[in-house]
Symmetry: C2
């Protein structure tokens, strides 16, 4: 029976790039970008380091592709439902946090690179700068909608709600990486959202 | 006039070790432990890398000494007043946050190493694991005292207050490292403490 799957050199190239990107994600998550070597990535795939450079111009291009790839893949693979409206926004945050629990390697990659890339000159410096600005802006807009719907606790402004939610999330992830039994990221986020909003999250 | 300062080979050794530790702190803060090289540390001091190994057995011993040194130095150098009692605890957190603003390099070193050391096998793996456990325990005890004094907001328990305070602090530092103008760590912490406690922090 004929398969509708792509065959031939293009399919082979795509499959090889997929293997390299997956191995690179694992190596960068373990050692960081600076110390993670092309040799270790190549060894995991069972190829020469020079073959990686046939597919990706250099190590920083490879890192950028890993990051874009993860951003593109996460919504499809781990697909939590987006918020149905301001009253559902806190629950949507928790759905995303639970989806992240299923991809710990990606969470660790982001956490390490977020810290590592703070140094100017790191190839992901601009990426993470822009990513934080974008996420803060999206979170602020979501909390502003909640404020308009009367769902924020007295004295809580949308910008602080956004920064503190993002900070609690990132900070709790670092503690969870060090001691998964000691800190529950989703539960910490749930309690933070209960502190910021009047939405009942008991069943979320 | 005779100086009371130590002289001779011991003073020279101590001064050289001080230079190496300071340079190592800067290099590890910029590149992380894994990528920060003994050669770069030696270049900053103007010595050979082999001279570093005369003073410190290997790179991980050097890192451990940098960390211990910072823990020992911070209270003396940056010396914020400890809490005078439960009602002063939130203000004491803010004094420490403001003291950290004067040592951005150390904050960056800790933030990067906290993420990097989550991988088992990193020489600071145990150190950061233990440090987070100790800080969570100290913070929990401080918030429990506040709870006993009736200073926590309804529904806030001491353990969540401790984890969220530490998480907001760490997470806001990462965002501040990427964009110092966008996120004010001390101000974010102040608002978090206002959310957790009933203590008035307007003048703190």
């Amino acid at each position: 029976m004929a398969s509708p799957t792509k065959r031939g050199p293009y399919a082979k190239t795509a499959a090889r790039q997929r293997e390299i990107l997956d191995a690179a994600g694992e190596v960068f998550a373990t050692h960081g970008y600076r110390s993670g070597s092309l040799k270790e990535i190549a060894d995991r795939v069972g190829i020469d380091a020079s073959t990686i450079l046939h597919h990706f111009a250099n190590k920083s291009v490879l890192l950028q592709r890993v990051l874009e790839d993860r951003d593109a893949l996460s919504p499809r693979d781990a697909a939590p439902q987006p918020a149905a409206g301001p009253a559902d926004t806190p629950a949507a945050f928790l759905r995303l946090a639970r989806a992240n629990e299923r991809i710990p390697g990606i969470v660790e990659l982001y956490t390490l690179l977020a810290a590592e890339s703070a140094t100017p000159g790191h190839p992901s410096h601009q990426y993470f700068h822009d990513r934080y600005a974008r996420v803060r802006s999206e979170f602020t807009a979501a909390f502003a909608e909640m404020a308009d719907a009367g769902l924020l606790r007295p004295g809580v402004d949308p910008e602080f709600a956004a920064v503190s939610t993002l900070s609690v999330w990132d900070g709790a992830q670092v503690q969870w990486m060090h001691d998964p039994g000691a800190v529950d990221v989703t539960e910490t986020l749930r309690r933070q959202l209960e502190l910021l909003t009047t939405v009942d999250l008991d069943d979320a």
